[in-house]
């Protein structure tokens, strides 16, 4: 008997917890509101099923608990009932799957005008590379990594000379511009995870993975690593700042290009990255 009551309490408690508890996702700061909507729809469908099944069970336990002289019914199956339940389940599953696949289609289709930004992870810090004035990132290779070239950018590749290198510092992104995050790791698996952006992807040494999004809110966001990467995993933090266009431009101007970092006799000369590129060419 107590169990019937507890089953009802489990349902009520779970629903109340869901509605009343302060624990919910962080306010979104990207274009992936669709992901949130799909998630909420899934919550509604699954919540309804959970409540229905457990409450039905509670009723059965209450109504058909053993009493002296009770005899159970003999009903091996009911084809009709089972077919209906199968059908309804299939419809419910499709109702969750269809929007999910639709949004996934958007998630994997990077818009043409997206700016590429490279994130390079290593135990246990984040570095970044922006394409510079030519809009193209130079090639890279883990074998080229040394203390002067921590990201392994190919010095032979002209596209790479103007790349802006942000080593172990904060990344800035302009608001409302689509970005394609190119993800690279030089040692183990990592995962570039900013809860407010909703999107995330593992970074795998030896290959370049990606995801895209549009930052929709200015502010400072914390970067965490979401793929176990050794003892420092929990402490591998970084900062992404989403700026207005002006703030972003002024930040960009203070950054150094690959050519500046490696080139001779340019130490101390604060050169505008765009002009530096012009000189290289």
């Amino acid at each position: 008997m107590a169990i019937a009551l507890v089953l009802v309490l489990v349902v009520i408690g779970s629903v109340l917890f869901h509605v009343l508890s302060p624990w919910w996702w962080t306010p979104i700061a990207s274009n992936w509101g669709y992901i949130d909507s799909t998630l909420v729809a899934t919550f509604w469908i699954t919540g309804a099923v959970f409540s229905a099944v457990v409450l039905f069970m509670a009723y059965c336990v209450y109504r058909f608990r053993h009493k002296e002289g009770r005899k159970a019914a003999y009903e091996p199956e009911s084809k009709k009932l089972e077919s209906w339940l199968t059908l309804i389940t299939a419809v419910g599953v499709a109702a969750m799957l269809a929007p999910g696949l639709y949004v996934w289609g958007q998630f994997v289709t990077v818009p043409k005008d997206a700016t590429e930004v490279e994130v390079v992870a290593q135990q246990w810090q984040w570095s970044y590379r922006l394409p510079g004035a030519d809009g193209k990132l130079g090639t890279s290779n883990a074998r080229l990594i040394n203390s002067d070239n921590p990201l392994g950018i190919n010095p032979e590749d002209p596209n790479g000379q103007d790349d802006v290198v942000v080593e172990a510092a904060d990344l800035h992104l302009p608001i409302d511009k689509p970005v394609k995050m190119l993800l690279r790791s030089i040692d183990v698996l990592h995962d570039f995870y900013v809860p407010e952006f909703r999107a995330k992807m593992d970074m795998v040494p030896g290959m370049v993975t990606y995801f895209w999004f549009i930052p929709t809110r200015t502010g400072t966001f914390e970067v965490l690593c979401a793929e176990l990467c050794g003892t420092g995993h929990g402490f591998m933090r970084g900062i992404v700042m989403v700026d207005t266009e002006q703030d972003y431009t002024s930040w960009l101007q203070q950054q150094s290009t690959f050519a500046q970092l490696t080139g001779p006799a340019k130490v101390g000369a604060l050169v505008d990255p765009a002009k530096a590129t012009a000189k290289m060419e």
């Binding site: 992901i35 091996p76 040494p205």
Partner: protein, 608 residues
């Protein structure tokens, strides 16, 4: 692998093996230690699994202490935390649940339920246990190895699993882990061959497939899956051993580790993930299907009603088993694999929800118009349904590729898989132990300790894992020993973590009551008799309790009906045993020919 059957070259169908032909132990050693009797092997498997499971339980307490009260316990460094976490996961999934369901329940129940005297290859069966024990010992040895056990997470993803940034990565820890897994797989394959062939060839006369109890269907299908899935883990482990020991580059790409260029070149970490999850996802169902089967029988027996939709249940088990081989990459949506795979694997994953849901409906519909005895096994079965439905439904979040993106690698995942393949199967394990303990020992488990254990475990486990989903929804990543000062994590999450820790410790201590009960009731439990639950299946119709070597006395039982003849209209009692020929041959013995054997089955199932 060959020529180890006790039957020699003569062609005797195992169902016909007479008691005389059976291998007989000659000494205490061969009877209780190097025993070839499936029932003894089952108890050895269960005991070892529970013992190593207790270690994993204690590790989970330590982790929860760290998460609830970070910084309080100096000895739980991040290294130690990752080692606890890895060992906890690996032990629970493989060395406890897989071994307990297949090696423990499989060995005990298959021969009894299909009406066989023993497994068909008893010697191989014995080897299976001893190799399993060796695997466990190698695993335990890694705790004492220099550098400690591996801390790579139970998924053992390279490259970090074999690098210096991970505890045990460059020491013996990871090697012992891989060797232990390889041994486990070899041992399991030996046992698995037995379970499969015994179900196929060892069934007694009249025991057609559609008369098998669902427990046997669940364990059988899970074993077939395990036999085909474990080789993937085997291959992954062997190749990783090569990478670690001789520096080959199967999984290891060119990397710069701590400023040093590694000797590896060109390997693919994602290939490991494919191999791992090709094993890892079927593994979820390898644990779940036996639980599905057992819980069906618990509900049917204790609700005194036939399982609803038996045919559908069988088809669902087989369907889930087959489908579970084409969903593995739903663990890899954000792994960097080709994004178009997401469409395929999300679809297959959500399709598998349909047969799973049907099983849930049929359990609940079995309760409908039943005669529900709220015994402890029944309570655990109800708790299983609640936790399994909860965990299964959150699986729909994680299987639906785009919803998985924000949730993957957060505490939501941790809560989900603990609910669905931790708490739910463990509820079945407990229910099954309370149900079959009387058969194994002849005595009932203590009722009051049992009820205390049930309430604390069920409510406590729900209180641990239900709120944990919301911790993940906030965005807290998994595998973090502490959250530190993180702007988006409100202080209330820390309070919630403290609450979860307290709940976890409480549930943990309730398990000690259960363990105490197991030992206490061997001597002090109530006498059970041959068939305390008045159940239909053959294991309750044995010659004596606990069943002797050979299980069924002189004559094997003959099966006349399916396993769910409860509350049949017109029958004098509310159950008819499977070996009861029914009213037509009233008073006749349930065994083939010959007079009723003493204490034999006829007295049990026959009409009074």
């Amino acid at each position: 692998m060959v020529d180890v059957t006790p039957h020699g070259a003569d062609l005797i169908p195992p169902a016909e093996v007479g008691e005389m032909d059976l291998y007989h132990p000659h000494s205490w050693w061969t009877k209780y230690v190097f025993s070839q009797d499936a029932k003894v092997i089952a108890i050895q498997y269960s005991g070892t699994a529970l013992a190593i499971g207790l270690v994993a339980l204690v590790l989970s307490w330590l982790m929860r202490l760290q998460l609830g009260f970070p910084g309080t316990f100096d000895f739980i460094t991040p290294e130690a935390y990752y080692q606890f976490m890895t060992m906890h996961g690996m032990i629970m999934v493989i060395y406890l649940l897989t071994a307990l369901f297949l090696g423990g329940f499989g060995n005990y129940l298959i021969p009894l339920m299909v009406g066989a005297r023993d497994m068909v290859f008893p010697y191989v069966n014995m080897l299976s246990y001893w190799i399993y024990l060796l695997a466990v010992l190698v695993l335990v040895a890694s705790f004492f190895a220099p550098g400690g056990p591996t801390g790579a997470g139970w998924t053992l993803y390279p490259p970090q699993a074999i690098l210096s940034g991970t505890p045990g990565g460059t020491g013996p820890g990871i090697i012992l882990m891989l060797v232990s897994l390889i041994l486990f797989i070899i041992g399991f394959t030996m046992g698995g061959l037995n379970y499969v062939v015994t179900v196929l060839q060892g069934r007694t006369r009249g025991m057609t497939l559609m008369r098998l109890p669902l427990t046997v269907w669940g364990i059988f299908t899970a074993t077939v899956m395990a036999l085909l899935a474990f080789p993937a883990l085997f291959v992954a482990c062997v190749m990783m051993l090569f990478d670690r020991a001789i520096g080959s580059s199967f999984f290891m790409p060119a990397i710069v580790e701590m400023g040093e260029q590694s000797p590896h070149n060109g390997g693919s970490p994602i290939m490991f993930q494919h191999l791992f999850w090709f094993f890892g996802h079927p593994e979820v169902y390898i644990v779940a299907l036996p639980a599905f089967g057992i819980v069906s029988d618990l509900i049917s027996t204790h609700a005194r009603k036939n399982i609803f939709g038996y045919r559908m249940m069988v088809w669902a088990i087989v369907g889930i088993g087959a489908l579970s081989f084409v969903v593995w990459a739903h663990h890899m949506y954000v792994s960097g694999m080709h994004p178009y795979f997401g469409f395929f694997f999300a679809t297959t994953t959500l399709i598998i929800a349909v047969p799973t849901a049907i099983k849930v409906y049929n359990w609940v519909l079995t309760l409908w118009r039943g005669d529900i005895h709220l015994t402890i096994p029944m309570l655990f079965a109800l708790a299983f349904i609640v936790t399994f439905v909860n965990g299964g439904l959150t699986g729909l979040f994680l299987g639906n590729v785009v919803v998985d993106v924000p949730l993957s690698d957060t505490m939501f995942v941790v809560a989900h898989f603990h609910m669905v393949m931790g708490v739910a199967p463990i509820m079945v394990v407990f229910g099954a132990v309370y149900h079959w303990y009387p058969k194994m020992t002849g005595r009932m488990l203590n009722e009051w300790m049992g009820r205390f254990h049930f309430w604390v475990t069920f409510i406590g486990a729900y209180l641990i894992f239900f709120p944990m989903h919301y911790v993940g929804l906030v965005g807290v990543p998994r595998r973090y020993p502490e959250l530190g000062d993180t702007a988006f994590i409100p202080p209330s999450v820390h309070t919630l973590n403290e609450f979860i820790t307290v709940a976890a410790l409480t549930v943990g201590f309730a398990q000690l009551v259960f363990l105490f009960n197991l030992f206490w009731s061997i001597r002090h439990g109530k006498e059970a008799g041959d068939n305390p639950w008045r159940a239909t299946t053959l294991e309750w119709q044995t010659a004596g309790t606990p069943p002797p070597h050979g299980n069924f006395g002189k004559e094997l039982p003959v099966v006349y009906r399916w396993a769910y003849d409860y509350s049949v209209p017109g029958a004098p009692e509310d159950f008819i045993a499977q070996n009861d020929p029914g009213p037509a041959t009233q008073g006749g013995p349930a065994t083939r020919g010959g007079p009723a054997t003493q204490g034999g089955p006829a007295t049990q199932g026959g009409p009074a």
